[in-house]
């Protein structure tokens, strides 16, 4: 099988510092070298660092990684907008690219002229472009603005036209960056559908996104980049899982050992315990979990009201244990000790959660310890399921697992 895109030991370095030089700086620099003065250390950013991979024709391929990992640079190199510092990239066939809003468009030209220009740049004949014209305009949904310069378009219109150009002028290889995330939901849906169509027609897709569900459902294979290096390469679902794990791990790590203090009361540690009382670092799904808040009170406190909440990253806890509701506040605490809160049979999906907590004063409910995140914890296990976005969807959506099953009535073929 032939490869549509090949990266061979590609490196791309940017020199940091000023955007452009004045002649004076270079003269001063050259004089400095002659006289033997040390040059100011120049910051070199490695956007890509000896990256090699190949994408077979017809594969749908995803590039993943945190911001600044080099994903966009890789796309720019493949579309010849920028050149590698060393190494070689080979691309077979016509390349359609949507890398940023406005990629491939001349701001001064009208929508219609841009369609022609892009077609010419892709090497299509005027007739080929004409025959695709209506399709492009319909997809871009820009109707009356066709004769206006693109710089007068809203960014949404520019984006739609850009995608329509890249995806409808018969590209053999389609490069799509994050950009589509700017569009509204309806447009994003149409983009993903169009990409799916192209993949089914046997075109090659290189997709960069932070939308893990889109990657998982659209791409066969993924490569994970970090600081310009490849850290994982494999089936998209596995790479998505690896990447999300990595993100979680860095969250948990960053959070190690913090103690929170309030007026006369400190929560010095938060530990997790299983049903036998042994200390654990991960919770077992479907089993009881005890959260132990270790406190130190500088003077006796009457009726402190403890609260513990679970949060999945969205605003507000999705589960709350509060003495304000159950009325089980201790009469008084003093010195050092702990308060246990046990959740029975944790019905949570495997992933990382935030544990929040706070302590209020019994009289008047003023805060002794502000409501805040105390730590992260993981619910152990693997996501199971054969759906098209099983991994990413269950890791980014509703956390609570309720037993359920589907049933079907008339009009459903199954």
């Amino acid at each position: 099988m032939t490869d549509a895109v090949v990266f061979e030991n590609v490196s791309k370095r940017f020199r940091g510092g000023q955007a452009y030089r004045a002649l004076r700086d270079d003269i001063v620099g050259a004089l400095g070298r002659v006289v033997g003065l040390k040059r100011g250390s120049e910051q070199v950013v490695r956007a890509l660092d000896d990256v090699s991979f190949s994408i077979p024709e017809g594969q749908s391929f995803a590039l993943l990684g945190p911001n600044g990992a080099g994903k966009t640079t890789a796309l720019k190199v493949a579309s010849r907008i920028t050149y590698p510092t060393s190494g070689r990239v080979r691309v077979r066939g016509r390349v359609g690219a949507l890398i940023e809003v406005g990629t491939g468009m001349h701001p001064e030209l009208t929508g219609r002229e841009n369609v022609d220009l892009y077609g010419r740049i892709l090497g299509l004949s005027r007739r080929d472009v004409r025959s695709r014209f209506d399709e492009i305009v319909e997809f871009a949904d820009i109707g009356g603005a066709l004769e206006q310069p693109v710089k007068q378009f809203s960014s949404g219109m520019q984006l739609r036209l850009g995608f329509a150009l890249a995806a409808h002028l018969e590209p053999d290889v389609l490069l799509v960056d994050e950009a589509i995330a700017v569009g509204d939901a309806g447009f994003q849906y149409r983009c993903v559908e169009r990409m799916r169509e192209l993949v089914q027609e046997g075109r090659t897709l290189v997709f960069v996104s932070h939308n893990m569900s889109a990657i998982e459902s659209l791409c066969e294979r993924g490569v994970l980049l970090d600081h310009g290096r490849i850290t994982a390469d494999g089936p998209a679902r596995d790479v998505v899982r690896d990447y999300l794990r990595q993100v979680e791990a860095s969250l948990v790590e960053e959070d190690a050992a913090r103690s929170v203090t309030g007026g006369g009361l400190a929560i010095v540690d938060v530990t997790l315990h299983d049903e036998s009382g042994g200390r654990v670092e991960e919770a077992a799904p479907g089993r009881p979990l005890t959260v132990r808040l270790h406190f130190r009170a500088s003077s006796p406190i009457d009726e402190p009201i403890f609260e513990v909440g679970l949060n999945d990253g969205r605003i507000g806890p999705f589960a709350l244990a509060s003495m304000l509701i159950d009325g089980q506040a201790p009469r008084s605490i003093s010195g050092e000790g702990y308060v246990d809160c046990t959740f029975a049979d944790l019905p949570l999906l495997p992933r990382v959660y935030e544990l929040w907590g706070g302590v209020r004063h019994g009289a008047g409910f003023g805060d002794l310890v502000d409501w805040q995140r105390l730590r992260f914890f993981r619910v152990a296990g693997e996501v199971d399921g054969g759906g098209p976005a099983a991994v990413s969807h269950s890791l980014s959506n509703a956390p609570v697992r309720l037993p359920y099953r589907w049933g079907f009535g008339g009009g459903v073929s199954n």
């Binding site: 590609v10 490196s11 940017f14 955007a19 452009y20 030089r21 004045a22 002649l23 270079d26 720019k76 190199v77 493949a78 579309s79 010849r80 907008i81 920028t82 050149y83 590698p84 510092t85 060393s86 190494g87 070689r88 990239v89 080979r90 691309v91 077979r92 066939g93 016509r94 390349v95 890398i99 940023e100 406005g102 990629t103 491939g104 468009m105 001349h106 701001p107 001064e108 030209l109 002229e113 022609d116 220009l117 892009y118 010419r120 740049i121 090497g123 053999d172």
Partner: protein
């Protein structure tokens, strides 16, 4: 299916560069048309600028130089003499300036789409040709007004025009590439062009240059060869000095090739540095 190779390291001028430029000829044309449209759409006097500039400058030179100094004008009316000079010069200086700014002006485009970058400075040099032709039209009208009729030698007119375009492309190409790295070009160029106006035989005849230097000077300074030829052809109705004119065209083509090679060497850094 065409295979595209993107290789690291500095680029170089090769046969493929020319093939690619040919492949993108319609893109080049689109940019030329665009620049012409934009220039006149945004100006109140519009296309009139193509005429006003050389005519006013020629008037000023004619008034001051020939009224109050003793510069010879080859025995033709002073206005006609300076207008013939300014016709070529106005094109050369504005085309060179436009071409040298082209990469910086279109930086958004450099970062968003691929095409051979020389398309931009070349389109800058070509976009001025319409102005040049209009100014030439004015020169012809003024020539008639002085009672000088057309001559057979006018068929040689395309040669000095070609020389001017090649020279503007050569300078514009190289300067546009340098401008990406050193914005000093923007400030230095108007000054250098101003000097150029005085070291070229625009407001004085070529015969002012000492005869031992005249030939080599006219060849190496393409504006000198072009201006002198224009004058001989239109104003005097003579044939141009063909050996000098052709040698200067050859020299300018050589310069264009050198600046193209220089441009190709730097081209790959443009989108990162602009």
């Amino acid at each position: 299916m065409p295979v595209l190779e993107v290789v690291g390291g500095p680029g170089r001028l090769s046969r493929e560069s020319f093939a690619e430029l040919w492949h993108f000829r319609e893109v080049l044309w689109a940019f030329v048309v665009r620049q012409v449209k934009v220039r006149y759409k945004q100006a109140v006097v519009g296309i009139g600028w193509a005429i006003i500039q050389p005519v006013l400058a020629a008037l000023v030179f004619a008034l001051f130089l020939f009224r109050y100094s003793s510069v010879p004008s080859e025995g033709v009316p002073a206005l006609l003499f300076t207008l013939a000079g300014m016709t070529g010069w106005t094109y050369f200086s504005s085309a060179t300036a436009l071409a040298s700014e082209s990469l910086v002006t279109n930086q958004a485009l450099l970062r968003k789409i691929y095409f051979p970058r020389e398309v931009l400075p070349l389109s800058g040099a070509l976009a001025g040709v319409l102005d040049l032709l209009l100014a030439l039209g004015v020169l012809v009208v003024v020539t008639f007004a002085y009672g000088i009729g057309p001559a057979l030698s006018w068929v040689a007119l395309p040669l000095p025009l070609l020389l001017l375009v090649v020279a503007a492309a050569a300078f514009g190409n190289g300067l546009s590439a340098i401008n990406v790295y050193y914005r000093d070009v923007r400030y230095a160029l108007p000054f250098v062009l101003q000097l150029g106006l005085f070291v070229s035989p625009i407001a004085y005849p070529l015969s002012v240059v000492p005869s031992s230097w005249r030939t080599i000077y006219a060849i190496l300074n393409p504006v000198a060869a072009a201006t002198d030829s224009l004058r001989r052809i239109v104003v005097h109705g003579h044939w141009p000095d063909f050996p000098v004119l052709l040698a200067s065209i050859g020299w300018s083509l050589f310069l264009l090739l050198c600046s193209y090679a220089f441009f190709k060497r730097l081209e790959r850094g443009f989108s990162d540095r602009v």
